[in-house]
Amino acid sequence: MAGQRFGDLEAAIMDRMWSYGRPANVREVLEDLQQERSIAYTTVMTVMDNLHKKGWLRRKRVGRAYEYEAVASREGYTAKLMREALATSNNQAAALVHFLSDLSPEESEAFQAALNVVRPRDDK
């Protein structure tokens, strides 16, 4: 599937777009990517077009080319995703098995204290 094949490239392009923090056209991204891999202009163009269709990038026409820009920040996407992960694991069906779900601040303080007692003997 094309989506599968371009998955890595999509991530790499979004990574660049987020690091620029400003609009960029296909050529700029291409030149950046070419520093570590050989890649064709049309490939980058296709993938960026896909990212636009999927709602990751917005674009406006500047002269003869499109200027692309990330729709939202990486932090924004991450925060939303992590909130979702926590919410879904709470209803368990998603089976995003969490390392830890609940421990109140008081409990955690009490345990930290307990650990400090256990640790020194343990480190010997």
Partner: protein
């Protein structure tokens, strides 16, 4: 008739008293893998007993195919006699309705639970691959996020996810303990067990056993993953990691406040490792065998009686 009643009685008793029996003296916490097996088998046993009870009512109205019917003619008479329930066809169809209904209802919930999980997971992975960075040295995906978080995504493209918040707070040995815990979840396919328990619980929320299993199975799987991680990691290190990850969480992110699994897990890791005795394990194993065979034996009992009375010779 008495056999049908016995089966239904078995289902009701196990369905209601099951949770109390299975939680007795916290044995499962000392053998979480066995515990999960017993809970799941008990749940399946309740459902199977009801299905079998329904099928028993169907036996007398079954029209066997011609050849087989001749062979079994005498036998069928005996079987009918032993499975006979007064208002014949009505009871038969009622039985068919119950057995088929319960089966389809269960299968439907299992199917929808698994599909919903897969869809949710795929959507999550799609965004995750964009925002996360792969850390080859950790064999994990790292997301830029201040909250200390660690979880795993089971399935075809399984992976462990750590937040930068977790990496900043945890020393190396604790990170590897956390990773070991998550990999135990992934390698043990704990998600399948959770999905099954959730599906059963959703299908029959009125049955105390199935409702309890829905929370008990995930809880025991956490303990199991802790035990697996503790094979190669210090228990205190793992406990410390738990406290760090949990303690750094802002109140808004903390779920289901107080008295949850976390508390038990930390306590359990700090106490000396106390696996269940061999006798205890044996009891668990025997229970599983009984939970599987008892409904079947109860359902087959009339047929066996017929066989023993020598009126009925099954062409083997």
């Amino acid at each position: 008739m008495t056999a049908v009643a016995t089966l239904l009685g078995y289902a009701v008793l196990l369905g209601i008293l099951g949770p109390r029996l299975l939680r007795a003296r916290g044995w499962a916490d000392r053998a979480p893998r066995l515990g999960v097996l017993v809970w799941q088998t008990a749940g399946a046993s309740v459902i199977a007993a009801v299905v079998l009870a329904g099928l028993m009512l169907v036996v007398p109205i079954v029209q066997a195919p011609h050849g087989l019917a001749d062979l079994l003619a005498a036998c069928r008479l005996m079987l009918r006699l032993h499975y006979e329930v007064p208002p014949q066809p009505i009871a038969g169809y009622a039985g068919l309705f119950v057995a088929g209904g319960v089966l389809l209802w269960t299968a439907g919930h299992v199917l929808t639970t698994f599909i919903a999980t897969a869809v949710q997971r795929r959507r999550h992975v799609r965004t995750l691959t964009m925002v996360a960075r792969r850390r080859g040295d950790l064999d994990a995906l790292v997301v830029e996020y201040d909250e200390p978080l660690a979880y795993c995504l089971p399935g075809r493209r399984r992976c462990v996810v750590l937040s930068t918040g977790a990496l900043e707070r945890l020393p190396d040995d604790q990170v590897s303990a956390v990773l070991a815990h998550e990999h135990a979840h992934l390698e043990g396919r704990h998600d399948l067990a959770i999905n099954l328990a959730v599906a059963f619980g959703r299908a029959f929320p009125a049955v105390p056993l199935l409702r309890a299993a829905r929370s008990e199975v995930p809880r025991l799987l956490e303990l199991l993953a802790d035990d697996v991680a503790a094979r190669n990691h210090d228990r205190v290190t793992l406990a410390a990691a738990l406290v760090t990850v949990a303690g750094g969480r802002t109140p808004a992110m903390a779920m289901g406040a107080g008295g949850g699994t976390a508390l038990l897990r930390v306590r359990r890791l700090l106490a000396p490792h106390d696996p269940l005795s061999r006798t205890g394990r044996l009891t668990g194993g025997v229970s599983i065998a009984l939970l599987v065979t008892l409904p079947l034996a109860l359902a087959a009992n009339p047929a066996i009686t017929a066989l023993l009375e020598r009126h009925c010779h099954f062409p083997v």
